[in-house]
């Protein structure tokens, strides 16, 4: 099976972040970057599929400033065979999906795995848009995935703690949820070997694609307003419980 996997380079989940002077985004200079957490599940799953069924894995990354080293260490060293880095930074998810779709078509993969969202912008859009542009089926927020030939069975997380088991046939885009797998870490020999794995850097023009004009623009980025200082309720458990309920009822008026 030829497997595609999307891997975005984002601000690391634990990095300290600062809004840029224009208020349009996060200042990226000196900030720790990494592969988006959910995309790491997608990368891991692609490797597990290859281990079970054989095939080749191609990763897709969109981002003009995406770091080669991160892609080698965080994608190729884990077991992805080849990396395609699209050196463009579209202003919106549909622009990203448009470039991905062009690259995916060119590579003729049968399945694309993505994270359910990226941990920076958290739009939950690109994977599903990619499926639409390709004319493929999609399943989002997947926590279990198996293949038999070109048929697959996936478990997806819905609202209210409900899960559904669905079946479908390839080609498809699958978005990966927390709990799908436990990601592996690269071993040193694999990291060395990854330095020699192919990485294709392509532009939108190379792909014959156009991300289009910006469909979204951002402004006024700021930390959320601080909450007013709270109050500590004293007393033993039973007293504190009674006092809490009184405050929730009479002061906060939420009961």
């Amino acid at each position: 099976m030829k497997i595609g996997v999307c891997a975005k380079v984002t601000v690391d989940a634990d990095a300290r972040i600062k809004v840029n002077p224009q208020g349009t985004g996060i200042a990226l200079d000196g900030v720790k970057l990494g592969i988006s957490d959910y995309d790491e599940y997608a990368v891991e799953e692609s490797i597990r599929i290859k281990e079970a069924h054989g095939g080749e894995i191609v990763s897709f990354t969109v981002g003009a400033t995406s770091d080669d080293k991160l892609l080698r260490g965080g994608v190729l060293a884990l077991g992805v065979d080849r990396s395609v880095l699209i050196t463009e930074s579209p202003a919106d998810p549909l622009g990203v999906a448009t470039l991905l779709a062009a690259s995916v078509r060119k590579e003729e993969v049968e399945v694309v795995l993505t994270g359910k969202s990226t941990i920076d912008e958290q739009n939950f859009q690109v994977g599903t848009m990619l499926a639409e542009l390709l004319g493929w089926a999609h399943v989002t927020q997947v926590t279990a995935l198996t293949f038999e030939g070109n048929a697959f069975t996936a478990t997806r997380n819905m609202d209210a703690g409900v899960q559904q088991v669905v079946t479908g046939t390839l080609p498809a885009v699958i978005s990966c949820e927390d709990g799908l797998n436990t990601v592996r870490y690269a071993k040193l020999p694999a990291i060395m070997k990854a330095k020699k794995k192919p990485m294709d850097k392509v532009t939108a023009a190379d792909l014959g694609a156009d991300a289009g004009d910006a469909r979204l623009s951002q402004a006024n980025m700021a930390p959320p307003a601080a909450r007013p200082a709270g109050r500590i309720i004293e007393g033993d458990a039973a007293t504190a419980a009674r006092e809490l309920i009184r405050l929730l009822r009479d002061e906060a008026k939420v009961l």
Binding site: A137, T140, Q164, R231
Partner: protein, 315 residues
């Protein structure tokens, strides 16, 4: 603004609270407000919340059929030709709105907490970077699609008016998947993302048994949705689908009670917009107390059962 279309979700014909919430908000944005309803529901009653017109697509959308929802909504959007399309930030919208955005070459803002119209364009306020910042997103393309976090706006009462209802025909063209099994939740089925009350437990619960006997008991006594921190779901005390936080669900209830949760950024991302936050933790330095409206510094195994008892008595 020439028109706003609102997806009004329902469960077996009972409209979700987000229907009145979004219709009410749409009425403040200017322009004609229409509603989209998929399947069998008392569509005309949405007139009571300000929908001038309701467009209904008949079909089988339950259990969730993303391909059918996409095609049916696409037909309604084609007929109405709205400037703005709104939906609650539910699984259904999350699974289908990006497809519709791509199909109509529009723009989309996800999980918004506020909406306004500025110079004829929709501007959505939304949390991003795990809720550590918020940003105004201007949707420059038409149609502008947005999903809105439940409990973001007041929910008007019905004025009793009736809307005109139009049936819209649609054709299945999108490749989809087939639901073969629905796995029921452990939580008693209170939808976390729309729940008005949520209780959540953390690593300090120490076991799945404790989680059930302490947190689920409180949830049941309060009629609250039950969630958990990532530490608790990773440890297997609760299901992954019950996780609240950056890598789980976002909730915004009137009342959020966190027990044995330290308050990592990852967790705060999923609940910091709750109206009232109660923190119960043994550690007085736990970061959660900086975000709490009310805090109790004590062992959750003492306080939570006492609270459960009080709620039971109050019923």
């Amino acid at each position: 603004m020439s028109g706003i279309l609102v997806l009004c979700e329902h469960s077996n014909g009972a409209f979700a609270a987000t229907a009145s919430e979004l219709l009410g908000k749409a009425a403040t944005l200017g322009g004609t407000v229409s509603a989209a309803v998929l399947g069998d529901a008392p569509a005309a009653t949405l007139g009571g919340f300000g929908a001038a017109h309701v467009y209904v697509a008949a079909g089988d959308f339950t259990p969730h059929n993303g391909a059918a929802v996409t095609d049916a909504l696409a037909a309604i959007i084609r007929q109405v030709d709205p400037d703005i399309v709104l939906a609650p930030a539910s699984y259904v919208a999350r699974d289908t709105f990006p497809r519709l955005t791509a199909r109509f070459d529009g723009a989309m803002a996800s999980d918004c907490s506020d909406l306004r119209v500025d110079a004829g364009k929709l501007v959505a306020r939304r949390p991003t970077f795990a809720g550590r910042v918020e940003v105004d997103v201007t949707l420059q393309a038409r149609p502008a699609l947005a999903t809105v976090r439940p409990n973001s706006f007041p929910r008007p009462d019905s004025n009793g008016e009736s809307a005109e209802v139009t049936q819209v025909a649609w054709e299945a063209t999108t490749p989809g998947v087939k639901v073969v099994e629905v796995l029921a939740p452990k939580t008693g089925g209170i939808e976390l993302s729309t729940a008005d009350r949520v209780v959540a437990g953390g690593r300090a619960l120490k076991s799945a048994e404790n989680f059930d006997s302490v947190m689920r008991a409180l949830g049941e006594a309060m009629g609250a949705g039950v969630g958990a921190s990532r530490a608790a779901t990773d440890a297997g005390y609760a299901a992954h689908s019950e996780q609240i936080g950056q890598t789980g669900q976002a909730v915004s209830p009137s009342l959020y009670i966190a027990a044995g949760i330290s308050g990592a950024i990852q967790h705060l991302a999923g609940m910091r917009t709750s109206k009232v936050i109660v923190a119960i933790n043994k550690d007085p330095d736990a970061p959660i107390f900086q975000h709490a409206t009310y805090g109790i510094v004590a062992d959750l195994f003492d306080v939570v059962p006492a609270l459960t008892e009080e709620f039971r008595k109050g019923q």
